[in-house]
């Protein structure tokens, strides 16, 4: 076999592998359907508002329901306790030059 044919065959195999990713994704999605329905049912039944990802503090367990001051709720200059807290994005606007810190926090919390 010529080198060109080998290279084109390898590329074709790569393209097939790429297409198979989409096929496999569809297969896994349909297999996960019942589990997802169970999660959605529980969210609707219990009126849940957040994922149970970070359980260490109230403002990381329920980031969407947290106080407007989070993550500074212990006192205004408190440093962040948890790595999760520091990995949650700061409020929109607080990173722009000249934005008031309080206004930024409130805007972000109201996201």
């Amino acid at each position: 076999m010529r080198p060109a044919d080998r290279a084109l065959l390898a590329l074709a195999a790569g393209i097939c592998g790429f297409a198979l990713c989409f096929v496999d994704a569809a297969r896994l999605r349909s297999a996960a359907g019942p589990d997802e329905a169970e999660r959605t049912r529980l969210v609707a039944q219990l009126r849940l508002t957040d994922l149970a990802l970070f359980t260490e503090a109230r403002y990381t367990r329920h980031p969407s329901q947290a106080d407007l001051h989070s993550a500074f709720q212990d006192h205004p200059l408190a440093l962040e306790h948890f790595p999760t807290g520091s990995l949650i994005s700061p409020p929109a606007g607080s990173l722009t030059v000249g934005a008031g810190a309080t206004a930024g926090r409130e805007e972000g919390a109201a996201k």
Binding site: G14, V43, L46, L48, A52, L53, T55, E56, S64, Q65
Partner: protein
């Protein structure tokens, strides 16, 4: 057409022979290129799947949650508050929610205690989340005792454990009856933690929130859209952090690829000069180099993407999981459902394959239009 195809095959043959003459350098480039695509694709696939998971699951959350604020802090909803909300037009249904946090010194973790609105457990019984079951080694019909904030001990029987499938939303939940909840937290009668509202017309949700804020200045309405945006922004931020950490690697690769693609070595220049001298046209030289760029960048893209897909969805993204998922004492175990965003893949393709293929062509075109003699002499 047949002739054109035969010509391309010969060009590819020649390109491969040319690449093989600098085997180590080209294989090294291909490896680094593939690893870079793998890292970028892993991060984007993982965060997109997490964002989608959060969006789909939380689409069933309440349309509006109303909190009451006192001195800037979330406070209990007093009796009579719900009646005032009920007078606002557009509010279809409202329910007071009872939930709170409990710190368990045994596992050093926070649990979320909650009273389900439908089918609550009987008095003295609780239903626990799967992560809590694991961390405390519990099973159905076991007993468990919690010390309340007032210092009293409260014993419960585990009536059931929530399903593993729901762990992403229920890992740390403890469901109990209203009577037990109020006794445990010393909750005053008629008070609630917050209120879940449903609105008759989904288009009117924002208007209802505005009316709420006007009628009850101490109320803080949180819309479902805002909840979904919060989760989207958390993962956007995490994806950004990882990409920022990877930016040094991306930059290093950019320099390497640019140096390789745009600066022709004396050997390559001589090769082009010889090709021109034996009768190759400028177009042929450019086509040959185009194939070189395409073969390297396309191979790297395809191999990197497929490896990233397998890594994220079949090996639980073990390389990036700690940064992207975060951590907690009671972290839920869950398998991500693959959702591949076509636009993201196209963007990744455009920013990894196209610049390299283009960067290869410019210097070749410059060398190919120069006189063969002067190119060979350097």
């Amino acid at each position: 057409m047949k002739l054109w195809l035969a010509k391309q095959r010969y060009l590819i043959d020649f390109t491969l022979a040319s690449l093989a003459r600098r085997k180590t350098r080209n294989l090294g480039l291909l490896f680094v290129y593939t690893v870079l695509v793998f890292m970028l694709a892993s991060v984007t696939l993982y965060t997109h799947a997490l964002r989608q998971e959060a969006a789909r699951v939380l689409a069933a959350s309440p349309e509006v949650i109303v909190q009451r604020m006192v001195a800037g802090r979330h406070d209990l909803i007093p009796p009579g508050y719900m009646e005032r909300i009920g007078r606002i037009r557009g509010v279809q249904k409202m329910e007071g929610r009872l939930w709170g946090y409990y710190y368990d010194a045994v596992t050093k973790a926070n649990y979320t205690f909650m009273v389900p609105a439908e089918n609550p457990p009987a008095a003295g019984e609780i239903i626990v989340g799967p992560a809590l079951e694991r961390s405390r080694g519990l099973a159905k019909n076991n007993g468990i005792t919690f010390r309340s904030y007032s210092g009293k001990l409260h014993s419960f029987i585990i009536a059931d454990v929530l399903s593993q499938a729901s762990e992403l939303v229920s890992a740390d939940l403890v469901l109990m009856s209203e009577q037990n909840f109020r006794a445990f937290f010393d909750y005053p009668a008629g008070h609630y933690t917050d209120i879940a509202l449903s609105v008759a017309n989904p288009q009117e949700v924002r208007n209802v929130a505005v009316k709420l804020a006007a009628a009850l200045p101490d109320a803080r309405p949180i819309l479902r859209d805002e909840v979904l945006r919060t989760y989207a922004s958390i993962y956007d931020w995490r994806e950004g952090i990882v990409l920022a950490l990877l930016s040094a690697a991306i930059l290093a690769f950019g320099i390497l690829a640019w140096e390789k693609a745009s600066g022709l070595s004396a050997e390559e220049k001589r090769e082009i000069g010889i090709l021109k001298a034996i009768g190759w046209e400028t177009g042929d030289v450019i086509k040959m180099k185009f194939w070189e760029g395409l073969l390297i960048s396309l191979t790297a893209f395809l191999a990197g993407f497929v490896a990233a897909y397998v890594h994220v969805f079949h090996f639980a993204a073990s390389l990036f999981e700690p940064v992207l998922k975060g951590w907690a004492v009671l972290y839920p175990r869950f398998q991500l459902t693959p959702h591949i965003d076509g636009l993201q893949v196209a963007t990744l393709f455009f920013f990894t394959v196209v610049p390299y293929a283009a960067a290869v062509l410019v210097p070749i075109w410059k060398a190919a239009i120069t006189d063969p003699d002067s190119v060979m002499r350097g």
